[in-house]
């Protein structure tokens, strides 16, 4: 009898110890949703980062939900409708403030100490509340093939904002670089615009990219406080027409259709299809580095200006969802993810720029990530990219305006007419202006 009681006691004690041990070992579970662009192997890279986080944490465990980039918005919106949102995610820029306006995003302003917060220019803000910071700093730049400039005995595009080309200077150089199949430039008599083998310039016509020239001209899509629509201003239509005229009038740019069929930026520069092209900083790591081994020698400069030297900055944010049952853990994870040391390969590899001021504070700090074989020469990169980003960048309106994607849909809905010359920029913008105003008024933060 005694032995039975003793056995029971021992069993109860063993269960108690196991139960306490289990509770102590139990971690707070959170989920993180991310996208892969082309191959699912990218998911393995993200998982490796999460593994690093998990092994460094005693109390939090994060599980990845990975979705193809093409289906990302659909998946997230469906999860939101079904009230099954993850705890954290990386978010597509245009949908961020829409989620913030619906109260779904947690305040991220309280996550960082003042000296460790990401750059203010990377803050997605709704009604004064920061709901996320870009995972990286990205700006729009002018890339060019150095050899083509050398061959044409032309000076390289300016690498400092204060010396940015005027639009007229930009077009003038582009004409000298544009060549038809007989070797004639766009300035020569008998130039055959139907058989161009080298285009002098390609100013990116993506609906969110081209307005940077309008901003430079004093216009844009909307005012930086998101309270006034500027798409119908003469400054905006003038800039839009100038970009369209690169193909229509100046004969230095490919048609929008031809552009759509061109390969990646590194190949278009390497093969001499285009001499100068505007795109984002990420191209250094995503595209340009791939052709270095094939002999591509490229340079980077600041965008041409109409009035003031300006570029756009952007970057998808890491966010935490306000409805998360483990919000503190979710915020801790987001903070960890935005620490540069966890995406160092992407930064030194030229895809991302750091988000913290400390990496821009001294030349030594800048050289740590930007002075390597993948980046352009440091002196040029510093002024054309880093200083430009710090002093001349303005946010794409999706940092503060809900549903910027709807405005983009509208602007894009008939842009082929402008690019192909069947309508002037002014005519086209006038035709969509009432709808744009309606959309703007419906979504303007009040």
């Amino acid at each position: 009898m005694f032995s039975k009681r003793l056995l029971l006691l021992v069993l109860v004690a063993a269960f108690a110890v196991l139960a306490i041990g289990h509770v102590a070992a139990q971690k707070t579970e959170i989920t993180y949703m991310a996208w892969y662009n082309t191959t699912q192997s990218e998911a393995a890279d993200i998982q490796a980062t999460l593994d690093k986080f998990n092994s460094s944490q005693a109390k939090i465990h994060v599980t990845m939900i990975v979705v193809s980039r093409a289906d990302y918005e659909t998946k997230l919106n469906t999860m939101a409708a079904g009230k099954q949102l993850p705890d954290t995610c990386i978010m597509a820029e245009p949908m961020t403030i829409r989620y913030a306006a619906a109260g779904l995003l947690a305040n991220m302003g309280d996550v960082y100490k003042p000296d460790e917060a990401p750059l203010k220019s990377l803050a997605f803000t709704y009604k004064g509340k920061v709901v996320g910071y870009s995972c990286a700093d990205e700006v729009l730049l002018l890339y060019y093939n150095r050899k083509m400039f050398d061959d044409a005995k032309l000076p390289y595009p300016p690498a400092t904002a204060d010396k940015a080309w005027t639009w007229k200077e930009f077009v003038s150089v582009a004409k000298k670089l544009t060549k038809d199949e007989n070797g004639k430039t766009a300035n020569d008599a008998g130039f055959d615009a139907n058989n161009i083998v080298t285009y002098g310039a390609d100013f990116n016509r993506l609906s969110w990219m081209w307005p940077v020239l309008a901003v430079s001209n004093g216009g844009g899509v909307m005012s930086p406080d998101g309270q006034k629509l500027l798409i119908g201003t003469p400054e905006t239509t003038e800039a839009l027409q100038a970009i369209a005229d690169l193909y229509l009038k100046d004969k230095v740019a490919p048609s929008v259709g031809d552009r759509g069929n061109m390969p990646s930026l590194d190949v278009t520069l390497l093969t001499g299809k285009v001499a100068m092209a505007t795109s984002g900083q990420w191209e250094i790591g995503v595209s340009l580095k791939n052709s270095l081994k094939d002999g591509l020698v490229y340079g980077v400069g600041v965008l041409p200006r109409m009035k003031k030297a300006v570029t756009y900055n952007t970057g998808g944010p890491f966010v935490a969802f306000a409805g998360s049952k483990n919000l503190a853990a979710a915020k801790q994870f987001v903070k960890w993810m935005s620490d540069e040391s966890n995406g160092w390969g992407l930064i030194t590899g030229g895809i991302w720029m750091p988000v913290s001021m400390k990496y821009y504070a001294t030349e030594k700090a800048m050289r740590e990530w930007a002075d390597n074989s993948i980046h352009p020469p440091f002196a040029e990169y510093k002024t054309a990219v880093i200083d430009y980003a710090m002093k001349n960048a303005v946010q794409v309106p999706w940092y503060y305006f809900p549903s910027y994607d709807k405005l983009n849909d509208l602007i894009d809905s008939g842009m082929a007419a402008v690019w192909n010359g069947t309508q002037t920029a002014s005519q086209y913008i006038s035709s969509i202006l009432p709808q744009a105003q309606k959309l703007f008024d419906e979504n303007r933060p009040r």
Partner: protein, 294 residues
């Protein structure tokens, strides 16, 4: 005949249950849900707000994309249906003749129908590629200027129509079955009366095939009006909304732009439109369809 008892009734319903459950849970309830959602302003991010018929009013009065989407959809559907019917009937007619390796050719023409649409879309996008695609390669050989097949708003829908026509394998099979059922005795009667091949085709084959033509026309119209995959996989509704077909617009409004109420109203309007179109075809069918024995 077995007498109906509670037990046999129960058995019958048990056998019907899978179909009925599917009908209710996958068709009727979602449709009722769509009707309900269409009466609300619902982003999917916040609770829905009842707004009555405002979504419908908005669609017919101020929706920027509705009219152009309807136009794009009708353009595609009419193009795809008419070309598809002509193409598949012609192919079926030829495959009904005693051609060498007839089984092989029948498989070849049916094959596109069974290949997943997303796969064929990607392959076609390569063929339509402006610099290295096969079509522009041929044009280059013929010294003809290259065409921006999917990048030019004027060419995008015709290019997608060609893809749709290529995938008409099911229509060919149905036409073929119909052609094989045309009685030989009727055709021989024409021959005895001195008629030629055209007379046989015009006065025997075509009239006897009208029920099949009607069926294929209707099914093809309904499926082509609901075109989605090429707009999703190849053009994303562009360029300049040239391929903003209705189902893609519904998808974009609902799942990408968080206008679920608006998207639901669009889908119901589209549903009613297809139903009316179908009823119209049926109402006119007696005038031009020949049913043997009537």
């Amino acid at each position: 005949m077995t007498k109906r008892t509670p037990r046999t009734t129960l058995t019958a319903y048990l056998f019907l249950a899978p179909a009925l459950l599917g009908l209710f849970f996958l068709t009727i309830f979602p449709m009722l849900g769509v009707i309900g959602i269409s009466l609300t302003k619902w982003t999917g991010l916040e609770s829905p707000t009842y707004i009555g018929l405002d979504n419908y009013t908005e669609i017919f009065t101020s929706d920027f994309y509705f009219a152009r989407s309807v136009a794009a959809t009708l353009y595609f559907a009419l193009g795809a249906v008419i070309s598809g019917i002509i193409y598949s009937f012609t192919v079926a007619f030829m495959l009904n003749k005693k051609v060498p390796a007839r089984g092989f050719w029948r498989s070849v023409f049916f094959l596109p129908y069974i290949v997943p649409a997303i796969g064929t879309s990607i392959v076609w996008s390569w063929m339509y590629e402006a610099n290295f695609g096969v079509f522009n390669y041929v044009l280059r050989l013929l010294k003809i200027a290259k065409v921006q097949w999917l990048q030019d708003p004027r060419m995008a829908t015709p290019s997608i129509i060609v893809m749709a026509v290529w995938g008409c394998g099911s229509l060919i099979v149905i036409f073929l079955a119909g052609l094989q059922n045309v009685p030989r005795s009727y055709l021989e009667a024409v021959e005895i009366d001195g008629g030629n091949a055209w007379h046989k085709f015009r006065h025997i084959t075509i009239p006897l095939m009208t029920p099949i033509i009607f069926f294929n026309f209707l099914m093809s119209m309904i499926s082509n009006l609901q075109i989605f995959v090429p707009a999703y996989a190849l053009t994303q509704g562009g360029p300049s909304d040239a391929t903003l077909y209705m189902v893609y617009l519904i998808y974009r409004e609902g799942f990408m732009r968080n206008n679920f109420g608006h998207a639901s109203a669009l889908s119901l309007i589209f549903f009613v439109f297809i139903a009316i179109l179908t009823a119209l075809f049926f109402s006119t069918s007696r005038k031009w369809i020949f049913y043997e024995g009537e």
